[in-house]
Symmetry: C2
Subunit: 688 residues, 2 copies
């Protein structure tokens, strides 16, 4: 249920594509433009091979197949959830790292799944036909119903005894096009290798989104089918020496979300309502985690994964806020929007869509009215923590599963349930003190935001204070037990009502109001935004043509660019770092502390070995773990971050400053071979 983002961003907005910008779908990749820029010609087989070697990790990342036996390369921070689930007070995998010396030692990442995109079908015509002449909330319901139908039909067509295919409806260009994406899905994903957090995330939050950089942010997973390693002949080969400075490179991956096609009103809403509130909540929660972690080593271990996750997103959003507060940035966006509006107004064929901007503003005004209640009650911000999350999913799923598939909320359709169920029922350690912190925090914000006299607040708290209630609920609930969750999942609504579990009872009490808010959101906000989104997409196609790319949607994309530094004020930032810089930066104190293995290795390794590098490819959160390949399709790097200027790429790509940051193949080879002595894993991969 968690998504790993290292969402990226920028300062200059470019609605017309320039330079190496673009998160292209594989079926609309600008081969001509690439050829013109770099003299490189890639063909359909090249694209197909890369697509089939690229993996979507359902936890919110990307990976790539790197051996014929299902080995998947991704980031250490993409397996943080898995590592934390495998850890305990007695076994600190975060600190010690994880090396499976044999396949038998590989351990299941119980909540993870991996997917490979095998087919894409354009269903825009079917969606349009299903909506017909309907409008507003009715059109919205019809749209969602037909997307669910199409997914179900796709899965039925591809049911197989040996391979599991999952079908997913995808909306591109904010509604201009609809697709069904079919994935080969691997439900058994195991951890094969993870370095120590101290080297994977060297520099911690301080160096996050910085470059020069020295992070060994890689890990190896393996996908299994029927208990045996998957057979994956279409894997990538390594190019040990990596790409040279200036050499063209490609990144395949699943950028999570961007807002480059949003209207100015939507960006202002994002800034003034969503980001402003989120940042203040996150800053306070961060303070609570930090003080919790300061209580001792075990507290620090327990808090580490949620804290790192939060700090990462916090750095992103703080910088997004900075970008959206920049009058020059918004001014540029306004000018481009004005130009599009004028073009629409000037063309009789487009004029029916001229009301889209006003419709969006009206929908946002309606959103403002219910924003806080919807956020806290329906989006679950009032009830945070793993335990409360289980309760919310169980209660909602029980209600939705009673409905016919097409009438369900889209998160609970038959196509969505397998992943949801796996995440819900996966065993995970429960840390009561941390759960109390998170639940108390969220209940306190709930009271603070809606007010102590709000009926839903009263319904939730009665006469109890938030922390007292949180403490009681965490101590009394049995939801930490996967067997209990399984019983409730299987037993549906009746089992929930009879469970006697106080956390379930609380969520059941709040559910009617949450559902009312959901309905209001769907009808008054989602519906008009979807219609206006379709109209704007058509207007853009009509005015600007189809030579553009859609906003990111956690679906497979390809971007190109070159290995490249940048100029930071007076300073020239070169694109590569080496091992030497790592040792120069180490202080012995976290987050600049090296693991013992690396301290010992200093004397025997080549300090000129390349470590991290920068490239001007266009990526964002969800691209974590993406393979960087050269024109010959060989693996020359592993994306793990962007530089500080890349934050804001959410709103537009700045070719001058926006850089991706990746781990160099030489560092990975050196680590596996000389530091961790993980020869079996190394031998499995093809290294040139």
């Amino acid at each position: 249920m968690r998504r790993v983002w290292f969402v990226l961003a920028t300062l200059v907005l470019c609605q017309s594509v320039r330079a190496d910008e673009g998160m292209w779908t594989f079926d609309n990749f600008p081969r001509d433009r690439l050829k013109q820029a770099y003299g490189v010609d890639i063909g359909q087989p090249w694209l197909d091979r890369l697509r089939l070697a690229t993996v979507r990790l359902e936890g919110g990342c990307t990976g790539s197949l790197v051996s014929p036996a299902g080995l998947v390369l991704t980031n250490h921070h993409c397996v943080a959830d898995c590592v934390s689930r495998l850890s305990s007070a007695a076994r600190n995998v975060q600190a010690a790292g994880f090396i499976a010396r044999t396949r038998a030692e590989e351990e299941r990442c119980a909540a993870e799944q991996a997917s490979v995109l095998v087919a894409v079908e354009d269903v825009t015509a079917q969606v349009s036909a299903a909506i017909g002449t309907r409008s507003g909330a009715e059109a919205n319901q019809a749209r969602k119903a037909v997307l669910t139908q199409l997914e179900t039909a796709c899965e039925a067509r591809h049911r197989s005894a040996t391979e599991y295919y999952s079908c997913e409806a995808v909306t591109l260009y904010g509604g201009g096009q609809y697709f069904i994406h079919r994935y080969r899905r691997y439900e058994d994903v195991r951890l094969a290798f993870a370095p120590e957090t101290d080297i994977a995330f060297f520099g911690g939050d301080i160096d996050n989104f910085q470059f020069p950089r020295w992070n060994l942010d890689f890990a190896l997973l393996r996908v299994y089918v029927d208990g045996a390693p998957a057979v994956t002949p279409g894997h990538l080969r390594w190019r040990r020496g990596g790409a040279a400075a200036g050499e063209p490179v490609f990144v395949a991956g699943h950028p999570g979300s961007t807002e480059r096609l949003k209207t100015v009103a939507q960006l202002r809403f994002e800034r003034d309502v969503r980001l402003a509130r989120w940042l203040l909540r996150a800053a306070e929660l961060r303070g609570r985690y930090l003080e919790f972690a300061a209580r001792g080593e075990e507290f620090a271990r327990i808090a580490q994964e949620p804290l790192f996750g939060l700090e990462n997103v916090f750095k992103v959003r703080r910088n997004q806020m900075r970008v959206l507060l920049d009058e020059a940035f918004l001014g540029q966006h306004e000018r481009e929007e004005r130009a599009l509006r004028q073009a629409v107004a000037a063309d009789a064929r487009l004029r029916p869509w001229a009301g889209a901007w006003a419709d969006i503003e009206q929908a946002l005004a309606a959103w403002r009215v219910i924003f806080d209640r919807h956020l806290y009650l329906e989006q679950g911000v009032a009830l945070q923590g793993e335990l409360a999350g289980y309760a919310r999913v169980l209660v909602r799923a029980a209600g939705e599963r009673e409905k016919p598939n097409e009438a369900r909320q889209r998160e609970y359709t038959e196509a969505a349930l397998p992943l949801l169920q796996q995440q819900l029922l996966a065993p995970a350690p429960v840390y009561s003190e941390l759960e109390i912190l998170r639940l108390a925090f969220s209940l306190e914000k709930f009271v603070e935001t809606l007010g102590v006299d709000d009926p839903a607040v009263r319904l939730a708290l009665g006469r109890e204070a938030p922390r007292a209630l949180a403490t009681r609920l965490v101590r009394e609930t049995k939801l930490g037990d996967p067997a209990f969750r399984t019983r409730l999942w299987d037993g549906g609504r009746a089992a929930l009502e009879q469970s006697g579990d106080p956390l379930i009872a609380l969520v059941l009490r709040l559910e009617p109001e949450a559902l009312r808010l959901r309905q209001r959101y769907d009808d008054e906000i989602e519906a008009p935004l979807a219609t206006a989104g379709e109209q704007l997409a058509r207007a853009r196609f009509a005015v600007k043509g189809k030579g553009t790319y859609p906003d990111a949607t956690f679906t497979l994309r390809l971007t190109y660019g070159s290995v490249k530094g940048w100029r930071e004020g007076e300073r020239e930032i070169t694109p590569f770092t080496t091992m030497e810089g790592l040792y120069a930066r180490a202080t012995g104190q976290a987050p600049f502390r090296l693991p013992p293995r690396w301290v010992q290795a200093q004397q025997r390794i080549n300090l000129e070995t390349r470590f991290n590098f920068a490239a001007d490819t266009d990526i964002t959160g969800g691209n974590s773990g993406s393979p960087v390949v050269d024109a010959a399709g060989r693996l020359v790097g592993l994306i793990f971050d962007g530089n500080i200027h890349s934050i804001g790429g959410d709103y537009g790509f700045d070719p001058v400053l926006n850089r991706s940051v990746a781990v160099h193949p030489a560092a990975i080879m050196l680590a596996l071979g000389e530091v961790y002595r993980a020869e079996p894993l190394l031998r499995e991969m093809v290294v040139e």
Copy 2:
């Protein structure tokens, strides 16, 4: 060194004065306007009596003399610092309250001073003459030097063996007028009465800035001269029944600061730079305090005062941010500014000042460049906590005191030193764990904001991590001992350099860079802003006349209005609450927990007794503890807060929604008489 603000605010901006708006100086009070609005005529004797009965508490509040023997009425939250200094693990004055049954039981508030404004002298001409034809940084230095000279001369003229007079230069209208305010200063202020925090701050942060309200937010201090209660015949008399709904009332007090005359560029800077950064820091610190407090009762007691203070300002600034993000609000401000600029451009006599707006924008651009370094290094945000505060003041004072008086920074002139010295040397409990929290937090933000490679960061931290350094400094410093501080204060720079104290050593290391930043700030930002401020003030006087009031400056002001509720959406809010509502709201859990005395009193007191009330007077932070008086000059209430709409009053007064919130005299009489049995105090006051 701490200031108590409950800074207030609004949504509608009115640069032209309307309704009951206005924080008037006593020498420019609009008696005609008052007469027209309410048919009430007040004369100079009325004004003089009220002025001489109103007290400025140097901690950042207002009070009023309410007995012939120096008794001062103020808010409980204005004595929070005093109460917390008198508290310890063994003696929880916060929880238990404080009642001096005899004068001998009154205890010194060691860091507090009280002042009564006895004379005001217009020195605008002297300041202009001193500046002469100088400009820029030179004009700024000349201005500050002459203000210091004028203060010193005033104090020399009024030196007395029996009474201590303090003279303070005051800048009004952003530089249009300069005054010397002379205060009768009381250096010995003692606590006579404070109720339990649970009743004084009933509803806590949740109900803060809310109305209806039930807070017994009052306390009694007593000013002493030469060890005996001061003789104060000019005190106020109580009107037990208070004022009726709709009745005109007056509030005398010391509003701390407003920004109603700031330019749009300044407001944007406030929003995008100052508030945005402050809020994120404060939210995180709040989270740290809350998690610290959750560790146990003693942790909660220790954290209470800083936490309440922070939450109060946080609520203010969060709402200020909301106001400044409101496009309609800024749009209105922009229109008014455009009108003034046009008027200036159209008038040949005013045209020399037309560059003021551009000069301000240039100064703000310069500020942006050094904002973070100046904030962290010179304004001390890198080194927070009581101990670090002592170190910073000691180091800076030692340097400044070596200079001639007129060349010193204005916070370290001879006129400023007595209060500074008293605050510095006052005994105060030191809570090491809380100090570590604050210092670690501020060092971590310092590193995060300036980056680990910043030279000043390296100078401060060496190879130590922030929390490790903070822990070591707090454990090793001797600054918690007032005798040690006294030695260092007396010994000056040499004593500091030889002290061997690690916290002093750290501040000494950073001092040269802090002073460089101060100089740059003074010359590049303060100087042009001061000149532009003078020009804008003159332009406004020329265009709009002098029938207006200056922004708040923590100097004595008078505002008028009436006892009045407001309409909140569909709901009519009536102006009074009663004791009955208090008991209905109590839950037994903090912050809605009643002290035992009040639980026991429920059966015997009249539940219809009025408790709090609202009025449409124009106040802001610093007005805390202000007397509310009727047309006859009788005390009819005690200001302690504003409603939620009053936040934003910083930028403009909204007569429809902005309300002050006060304690009703009946509640105070009932509490002293029937709940606390504090008859001697009650008898001392004149109650009608």
